[in-house]
Symmetry: C2
Subunit: 455 residues, 2 copies
Amino acid sequence: MEKNNNRAEISRAQLLRTLENGETKVFRKRFLDMHFYDQAQFYLSLDEAQRQKLYRVLNPHEMGDFFDTIEDDLPQMSDLLREMAPQYAADLLNDMFDDNAADILEHLPKEDVNRYLSLMSKPDAIELRKLLHYDTETAGGIMTTDFVSLSADLSVGQALAELKREAAEAETIYYVYLVDADQLLVGVITLRDLIVNDNHTKLADVMTVNVITTSVHDEQADVAQKIRDYNFIALPVVDDDQKLVGIITVDDAIEVIDDEASSDYSGLAGVDVDDVSENPFKSASKRLPWLITLLFLGMSTATLINHYESLLSEASILAVFISLITGTAGNAGTQSLAVAVRRLALGNDKKPRLFKLVFGEILTGVVTGVITGLTVMVIVGIWKQNLMLGLTIGLAMAAAITVANLAGSLIPMLMDKLGFDPAVASGPFITTLSDLTSVLIYFSIAQLFIRAFIG
Amino acid sequence: MEKNNNRAEISRAQLLRTLENGETKVFRKRFLDMHFYDQAQFYLSLDEAQRQKLYRVLNPHEMGDFFDTIEDDLPQMSDLLREMAPQYAADLLNDMFDDNAADILEHLPKEDVNRYLSLMSKPDAIELRKLLHYDTETAGGIMTTDFVSLSADLSVGQALAELKREAAEAETIYYVYLVDADQLLVGVITLRDLIVNDNHTKLADVMTVNVITTSVHDEQADVAQKIRDYNFIALPVVDDDQKLVGIITVDDAIEVIDDEASSDYSGLAGVDVDDVSENPFKSASKRLPWLITLLFLGMSTATLINHYESLLSEASILAVFISLITGTAGNAGTQSLAVAVRRLALGNDKKPRLFKLVFGEILTGVVTGVITGLTVMVIVGIWKQNLMLGLTIGLAMAAAITVANLAGSLIPMLMDKLGFDPAVASGPFITTLSDLTSVLIYFSIAQLFIRAFIG
């Protein structure tokens, strides 16, 4: 791997030299021979002066080819567009697949969007305007209109001839959608089926009629799950009148699956992990708001302990077990939160019922709480030679774990019911909240039993 | 969605009735008309008696079609195989794509594997044995040998004719790999290219020669990332002699991406979130080992606090801030852990250098620590009207956060260097460890300053 990296590094430097030295012909030959993804990586490694040179030696069509593969950092992409001549940028957008072009335009100010659209070909501008209309996290927001649809009356041979004409424009030609005169979807046929069947066969006789579709309004996570379940390369999107309006390709589904997973992960950690900025000050500024917010929630736990100061000075042994109880309950709450968020992320038809989930988590909480509580009771009883102290700690532990488990599952479920993303209920939030309830439970129980254990 | 679910439920019940009543013809027509994924879902919803009926009305080939779409619960799948007649099971495995068949066989005892392989056609058994040889989490372990490779000397028309013959056996025909007499990969051509070009064109003239490949030994996560980066439908796998031995398709890449994401997520939470068993006792038994292990680690924190009992009885106010300091440092450690694990999950060529990461995290820790420390110093100073107490708490907080940040990034990095999966360093482990260091820091600083704040 190391070796490969070095070799790649050397060839990148050589390529850059040909660009810098104005050896246009050599540069173009070698650059255009690379995969689009590698072209994009080369482009993204340039500084502005170098990029300006690139804009002079590549036409907007050649730029568009690799711009289509850039999926991260969309806000930065709009800065890149602004450094190009407006007509060049418009031509580039025009040449991209329209779902990718729309993703970029969404991050631009309105006046920029209008300017670029006015410089484009009219039909493309109209398509793009339609796409910009949909919510970004729905099927409509991620679909492309660059698909192939044909009439089911054609023969296999006619369809292949038609595909040959449309191949350059379409994002995939591996699925061909068959529609009637009203654009209603009546079937689908794969390029594989076309190849296998004889040229004179009618499409209507070999097409699949039970087409799995998604609505423009469906959530992107559900759409991606469907593509994954059925192992599709593309999924057709229909509007409210069941008319075919677009398709979503498997590469977009992968991006959605990864984005959703990483936002769940970020939620659990209380930090945006996709912001892999390597500037420590920037990282700190991203993490501090959460830390400070939680600090204030933590202050209420401190205030609560302060309230019990007389109890603490009477039995300072109580202080020894504060972090054990809050820590263990926090761990249990984190486990329960993670499971709840993951279950809620399952597709709508796979989600368990609310009641069942809550009841299950209460029971899991009680079982883990009781067993952990018994364990700590025995340990503390033996260590401190004080059975009543052990019982106090064990009881508090059991109750604190049960409550933390319940909070860890209830809070994301409530957020889901209220229409929020359950992943926003972060791990640090649950542990900090659980600190508060654990301390309350601990000191309440200790107050009840104090005569017994300081005897 | 609700409505659709109900409708699907009703049609499922009707379909089941035709199976139960022995209306074989009606059942077969309706069942075989469904998508393979839906067939699999129906099959997985049956009890054993119903499944036995299904085995009688479907042949192994028809079973194999939908068995290919089942990707979860492989251990359970092997139980399903065992309830079939051995020859039926062998024929089913024979009919599946060989990567999927190998995934199932990996979960069977050796004698079962040998029996099924002996009942299969010889060439298939040999291919499967080869696949079983590779590590499960490498390219070799997830690849299929059901791909199409042709000689580059053919013309487009000849290639299309060849594809037509091989289509039934291959997992994808959208990429055709071109090899020389020694099976060395010399180029690739997409079905799209074949359709667009004229029949008499030589493949050698239109193929892509810079083929992106992966080695059989590459880690599955890196392979999946490559497929994602390049938007491939399949990626060719070569052995140590650069011979083409298999391909990995995009649907397998999606499974890998999702598995890796969910194992990172599980690691952060300290619980296997993919075990969505709805039995609360089972869930509890899965979570308890972690909780009890961490309880013992937490006991060392309690012992440490116990060690400082005389300090605590002298200044019981110190107990008020234990959970604030451990909690906040734990939150910071979780953030840092999540970022480190995520960065380490990036492909080998995108990983930041160890030194840079550690230095960055120390700096991030110091900045967040100082700012959070200052905040808590001011709050405590005002609340308790005791500047020196505020300073003690603030200093302890700053130091505890810095150390927690360092641990959160160093531990996963060390695990990665030592060849372990960094995601195993779970969030609960880091917070519990950070409790210990935070308490140590807190009481050490408090001991130094005690004369100043209790005056």
